[in-house]
Subunit: 312 residues, 2 copies
């Protein structure tokens, strides 16, 4: 970044295990980016680190001196109870502007910045929470006005959010990613999950998960048992079966909620999103692909716009 073009504002996505910052001009152009592994967990577990210090370390070169402070807009775990400053959750239904209105402002040592931390979203009845994904959803809505349907954010704890009439009306978190990791590394199934993969075995497991959702805890054991009772050549790769069983359980639940005409958008284009896409295809459902970083930035940009209007 040219030293002469100080950013108009700075966008920050502060996750549990990493951190990404963007220097932005006043036309929503990206002037520069930085990233770091110093997510909330790393900072919370090291008394020599502070959120402000880590942030300044990444953006110091971007900041002008002796001017008005540069606005910094942050989403994600910086607003958690164990984060920088708690930003209390908004409750669904959530309209996009609610995030900026719920932002909190930590005290700072460095006068070159002003910081707004956006809140997460909670759901009371069917208890659930998100921090960071709500900003992606707001960015998605900014890019897809009039969207009705579900947005899937795959991950360790995947989120399925329903968007209707420009609001987040509800969402469901699934522990599929964490459950798969625990089973494949720490359960008896670790002996059955190797490097092999087979798309047809994955699809079969997705179908089986849908055919008998209550059988989940039994189907898991068949991954182990198949290797004990069949000839090796006839045993489908355990990783594909386990993955199809776990993701298939999640997809079966979501597809059961789909109403006619509702769309599904899938955030990400990596390996995990590909498995979600394949599982949806087993159900005859096609998902729109969405760029995760782009909607994060779009959501932070939306919030910056609202914060600017509030400040005026």
């Amino acid at each position: 970044m040219d030293n002469n073009t100080a950013p108009t504002w700075i966008a920050v996505d502060w996750g549990t295990s990493n951190l990404r910052v963007w220097a932005m001009d006043d036309s929503a152009n990206i002037l520069a980016t930085q990233s770091s592994p110093l997510g909330m967990n790393a900072i919370a577990s090291d008394e020599n680190l502070s959120f402000e210090g880590v942030l300044i370390g990444l953006i110091d070169d971007w900041l002008p001196t002796g001017e008005l402070p540069v606005p910094v807009v942050i989403c994600g775990m910086a607003g958690a109870k164990q984060g920088w400053l708690e930003a209390p959750y908004c409750s669904v239904p959530v309209a996009p502007d609610a995030l900026a209105f719920g932002a909190v402002r930590p005290d700072l040592s460095d006068r070159r910045i002003s910081v707004s931390i956006l809140p997460g979203v909670k759901q009371m009845g069917d208890a659930d929470v998100m921090r960071g994904e709500e900003t992606q959803l707001v960015g998605f809505m900014a890019q897809h006005t009039d969207y009705t349907g579900w947005v899937c954010l795959p991950g360790t704890h995947s989120k399925w959010a329903r968007i209707d009439a420009g609001q987040i009306t509800g969402f469901r978190t699934y522990m599929s990613g964490e459950v798969f990791a625990l089973l494949s590394h720490h359960s008896i199934l670790r002996h059955s999950v190797g490097d092999g993969w087979d798309d047809a075995a994955f699809a079969d497991a997705v179908r089986a998960a849908n055919a008998r959702p209550s059988g989940f805890l039994h189907t898991l054991f068949t991954v182990r048992a198949a290797g004990l009772v069949r000839n090796d050549a006839l045993v489908p790769p355990g990783a594909a079966v386990l993955s199809g069983t776990v993701i298939g359980a999640e997809i079966a639940d979501v597809v059961g909620m789909l109403k006619p005409g509702e769309e599904i958008a899938l955030v990400g284009d990596g390996k995990l999103a590909g498995l979600y896409r394949a599982a949806l295809a087993v159900h005859g459902v096609e998902a729109k692909t969405v760029d995760g970083a782009a909607i994060t930035l779009a959501g932070l940009t939306q919030a910056f716009g609202v914060l600017s209007r509030i400040a005026e």
Copy 2:
């Protein structure tokens, strides 16, 4: 045990993590018992231990000298591939006598005993295996002739076996115990599972698991989320909700298979069996209580009888 009353035979239940032996007379009376933590895993991981050595260490005092060898009948993991000598699985349907007919006899250094290791049982279609429980089931059938219904053996990997016309006709293993342990100790839910307990919260979770079986991976996360979105006083104890969610998922699957007039028998009277009994009660199902050690010994006794007839 009086030195003058050498046992007619010796019964052995050799599990993954422990070992139990009984000295028996010719009228099915127990003359003495011993137990040890040297299950299959301990022996397999210590090159200084052997199955024969461990066994002799426990029963040495019981053995007469210069006589015919004392028959030893073993069920459980001693017959696994990683055990003493592999006893290939019988396939369902399995009649009680099949276990003795499938027994294998390891070579021995000590001439004072002769050893028969009973096979486990496998199921090919809906792949599944058991080792040890089949002997308990045979013992149960010996005590309950004309039984039709299911026998539940709770544990790390719980087993539900169907008994019909004096045979084991099929069974299903559920990973509920291991999944509960992984989630409560190693997942994000470990922060939500404390010492508190509430029977009503457990029962509510069992009902919820049955109402929407496909929601399992989401319901898990609500255990965490409830603590973040509600006042502490309104959050049910996480251990009770998680336990009810996991056991409830298993029970919902089993209750869905129950045919009119079929009974359920539950092996054990400890804490875990109590939770299974409570979950069944939520479904209006009453389970017969069965003593696990008694049916193990009854099954080994049945096999000893068949082995004696074969030898004649």
